[in-house]
Symmetry: C2
Subunit: 335 residues, 2 copies
């Protein structure tokens, strides 16, 4: 069974305390003693029991990560950024999925608190009955990653989505498009709200009338883009540009366009959002708004760590800049 301090103490002749201090490299233990104890620990394969340590110290060196859907490559990439940064700082992550369910989210927070995580990284659901109030009352430091919650904006680490969404649609409008389809994301996700707002404000700024039927809410999955665009084409609804909530939806849309024989970008221009790894390798490489996902994850963790180490510090909203990458699904193309 597991080797304990007690065993090391018995085997070395020192007290449990001295062994503990030696292993933690405290400087009131003589070098020789340390050496002896260290050697013994290595020989017997001693592994510090972090559960006991955590109970005693009140620190777990673990943070909870509550993701909405980690099978979505976007989150997967963000989470990898988080994990990397966390590991580099001696932290571990306890990962949970909510699948955009408010109840699961609440449950997840509660369980993770029970596990005494030192902090929380959240990608929360935004809804009528969201957990904003509950989250606001948390004792542990927490950061909202890539999203926001009303009244908690200062806890967010995210990218400039509204601005970029607007820019995308403005680009379309300037190119003379009037029928710009917006394949929006779920309204319970703050990024959908921002991207949609960008769409509306771009129209407003260009003094163009919005055609509400060209705003279609999806769940943000591949199939959604495919089905919605297929349906539109079947109904002979004219569209000349598509601004998709994310790359997944855009890829689905691309597929539908191809099947119907519509030429991209000549007849229909398409811009996605997120710039997933594979998007530039598509047969028709996808124009998209590139969010630095790994950076987002890293920054989120680092910010959280700051607050763990310095609990009194006030929170401030942090933003990482994204940029529009023009590839083969738009007429304008980068060199």
């Amino acid at each position: 069974m597991a080797v304990l301090l007690k065993q090391l103490a018995a085997a070395s002749g020192y007290s449990i305390n001295t062994v503990s201090r030696a292993l933690r490299d405290k400087d009131d233990v003589s070098p020789e003693t340390k050496k002896k104890i260290r050697a013994l620990a290595a020989e017997l394969g001693y592994v510090n029991n972090s559960v006991a340590k955590s109970l005693r110290t009140g620190k777990t060196n673990t943070i909870g990560v509550i993701s909405a859907d980690s099978s979505n490559p976007f989150f997967a990439e963000v989470i990898m950024g988080i994990e990397n940064a966390a590991r580099a700082s001696g932290y571990h992550i306890l990962l949970t999925n909510t699948e955009e369910s408010t109840e699961r989210e609440r449950e997840a927070i509660s369980v993770l608190l029970g596990k005494q995580v030192d902090g929380l990284l959240l990608m929360p659901v935004l809804q009528q009955h969201n957990n904003g109030h509950y989250i606001k009352s948390l004792d542990v430091p927490y950061i909202i990653v890539g999203r926001w919650l009303p009244g908690l904006e200062d806890h967010s680490v995210m990218s400039d989505e509204y601005e970029k969404a607007k820019e995308v649609v403005l680009y379309f409008l300037k190119n003379g498009h009037t029928d710009i389809l917006h394949l929006a994301g779920p309204s319970c996700v703050s990024s959908s709200v921002d991207r949609l707002r960008g769409y509306r404000d771009a129209y407003a700024e260009a003094h163009m009338p919005i055609q509400e039927e060209l705003i279609i809410e999806t769940k943000g999955h591949l199939e959604d883009g495919y089905h919605e665009v297929s349906a539109l084409i079947r109904n002979e609804r004219k569209i000349s540009a598509i601004f998709a909530f994310n790359d997944l939806v855009a890829v689905g849309a691309l597929r539908a366009l191809k099947e119907s024989g519509l030429k991209v970008p000549k007849e229909v221009e398409v811009i996605g959002f997120d710039d997933l790894n594979f998007s530039k390798y598509l047969h028709l490489s996808l124009s998209s708004v590139s969010i630095p996902k790994k950076t987002l994850g890293t920054l989120a963790f680092k910010t959280l760590l700051d607050h763990i180490e310095n609990p009194e510090a006030p929170y401030t909203k942090k933003t990482v800049a994204s940029r529009i990458v023009f590839r083969e699904t738009t007429l304008e193309q980068e060199p």
Copy 2:
């Protein structure tokens, strides 16, 4: 601060013990007492401290998941399967990445053991100096997911990769291809070894000579497929079929083929491996070997759970069947 059993005891007039037993629904506490205590706990927002509980019970209800690279969509999907199954059984996952490094792997195992995980799910690196010996000596139950380690085959939950790889190449050979490029994965990953073995054995079975220069080792990333195939074409090396280690590499290859003007599948047939979510939505939907990733994750967790609950049970290798999906990058196509 956090509400403790002590507070509930003081506030309710019962002893700490009774409160604890009431909350855990033990049947030697009277129903009314339970009700009172429960109400109080809910009111004060009591959350059980799992660290203390774990120290006392020796159970953490947490498993460690050591992934090679969770930004790879394949792992992301498997991990999601694991997380789902785990949550359904009241377990949480502590996620770590090794980026295919043996040292990080060893370190990760050790730290997770220190955190007293109830079991381990590994996607280990296979190398000269691998951690097989170390892993073999573990006290906690562990399962190797989607891979194998020599001597530990019984601990694996994986798919029938060798068979399917062979089948793929046999399909190519039967169609008259002689120059089949194999974009292999890293040799330190067991699935690469299996898929390559399938390639070789198919040639042997067809009594065809292998052209060693058509076996190219890659790291399994998108860019690799792109660069290797581009280089081959630049050197005017003739190839008429590509069997890629995974879909990522295949997509990169597809891109290179497109740039060079080679028609898929007429001039070059391509089959990938893994069948990632997006593969069927590519402009040219990718033929691939479909591994049921979520099932793999679920089965891995369930198997691990069996061993956690029943430590004496012997391990046996488990396999989930994959299947070849013929889409638009092959001449043969499913309806």
